[in-house]
Symmetry: none
Subunit: 263 residues, 2 copies
DNA sequence: GCGCCGACGTCCGCGTTCCGTAAGGAGCCG
DNA sequence: CGGCTCCTTACGGAACGCGGACGTCGGCGC
């Protein structure tokens, strides 16, 4: 069964381009019942006009069109913007598939096809084309954005060139803002070591400061807690003398495994 | 999907639904000689029962049935699973054809038909139904277009001559843009190995770079993540806005089979 | 059968990057 | 002022990535 779309969400517009009225009608019925806003064009020029007027979210395009070549239509439609295209080709016509691939089709369905399958393809392509919604995996604070999955860090939109240790250290700080850590703790959490020269931590904090602080000589983000260690301060966790200011982040102990990457 | 008749494999099961015994017998004979395991039902309820019991790989369904409508039978059978259906319709009855397609038939044969033709259709539908598990779309990014089904890759319209490993590697990268992978992960996901010389990955990345990068010495698409591995970057996954284009979908064990192709 | 060729995995040398440590100087506190 | 802590810089070595090249295996044509 096809699933309905979210009520409240605008229905996705689908443009069907086919010169056979019966095929178009069947497909329209299926897509309509599946919750799409369907438009139909019978030939190439009509397709281009409707595509320009209605700005569909997806185009189902028959390759065999009277007048204008389906490939040409595809090319022109995609020339205006990144609209996903599903192409209907004759059964087993390998050449058409290849051409469709080159011209910019995102998927193809061979005729005769089951309307059910077409609906599935439409859903699949649209799902794939949807821009990724706010990825929750990105850590943000004080103009910094750290993506542990991509292993990228940005400061005010420009990318930072961080080494592994610097990246892991910054990611750890971002996960635990406003809290002071001793060098031993950092060495344990970020390095995974329970012993070693603690000046290693000092040096890496210094290097990280040099890359993320506006004035490394007078650091704002990574504060030195005299006699203790370091604390990452964001702009919003400022001024509150909170002794136990656990951020909304519910992350507790043993964050090492996820914070410091590999063991 | 089910298996086709390979030597050693079980024969494909075909269920014939027709109220005319002579027709059913003739068709059964042909299909049996063609190597299929044939079952027969004379009316709608019988068809549903046998379909449930024997789980056929394909159903040949006469539209004109006593008792229950053929369309209703088709609808119910397909409601249980994605079974291919070939429909037998009266000659020139356009409405039946349309209805058949609407209900989800994969092909149709008009009566009177030659049993030989029906066998060909059966083979065709089974062949088509098997190796086309739904998601067989085209991957696109940064001027690249990769068709996993056709095993073709294009860059800016010109075809790339990729080896098997290079193709699988590129397809995997295109499926997970903007995400960093270690060599171990790539070896596992693309090669399917859990051990082995990781320099193999390095070498293949280099060879792939030589074919898809404008300046392989200064790669833009496949970025090296120092100390970690590699990351495929598209033009649009650049900057703070959308650092992660990969939806947090189910990334399970079966991802390998679909990612690396079926070899 | 024989030789050619492409694909693949492995190995080695080189240049680069990064890391941990050491040492000297400055800052903070009693 | 003395002791301790922290900052800064420098350096050697290890780790890493890259490019080039080699040996093997299988397919294909002769």
């Amino acid at each position: 069964m096809e699933q309905q779309q979210d009520p409240g969400q605008a229905r996705a517009r689908v443009l069907i381009v086919d010169d056979d009225p019966t095929v178009a009608e069947i497909v329209s019925g299926y897509l309509d019942r599946a919750g799409y806003d369907v438009d139909h064009a019978g030939d190439g020029p009509d397709a281009l006009a409707r595509a320009a007027a209605h700005r569909p979210d997806l185009v189902v395009l028959d390759l065999m069109l009277p007048g204008m070549d389906g490939l040409e239509v595809c090319r022109r439609i995609r020339g205006r913007g990144p609209v996903p295209v599903i192409m209907l080709t004759a059964r087993g016509d390998e050449d058409d598939r290849i051409l469709g691939l080159e011209v910019g089709a995102d998927d193809y369905v061979t005729k005769p096809f089951s309307p059910r399958e077409l609906v599935l393809r439409v859903e699949s392509v649209l799902r794939r084309a949807r821009p990724a919604p706010p990825s929750a995996a990105v850590l943000r604070a004080a103009g910094l954005a750290v993506d542990p999955v991509a292993r990228r860090a940005h400061k005010n939109g420009t990318e930072l060139a961080l080494t592994i240790r610097e990246f892991d250290l910054l990611a750890f700080f971002l996960r635990h803002p406003g809290r002071a850590f001793t060098r031993e703790e950092l060495m344990h959490q970020v390095w995974g070591w329970d012993f070693g020269d603690l000046s290693t931590v000092t040096v890496h904090v210094r290097r990280l400061r040099g890359k993320i602080e506006d004035d490394p000589a007078r650091p704002r983000l990574i504060q030195t807690v005299w006699g203790v260690g370091y604390r990452f301060d964001t702009a919003d966790t400022h001024g509150t003398g909170t002794p136990d200011a656990t951020p909304p982040d519910a992350r507790t102990a043993d964050a090492r495994a996820s914070d410091a990457g590999e063991g």
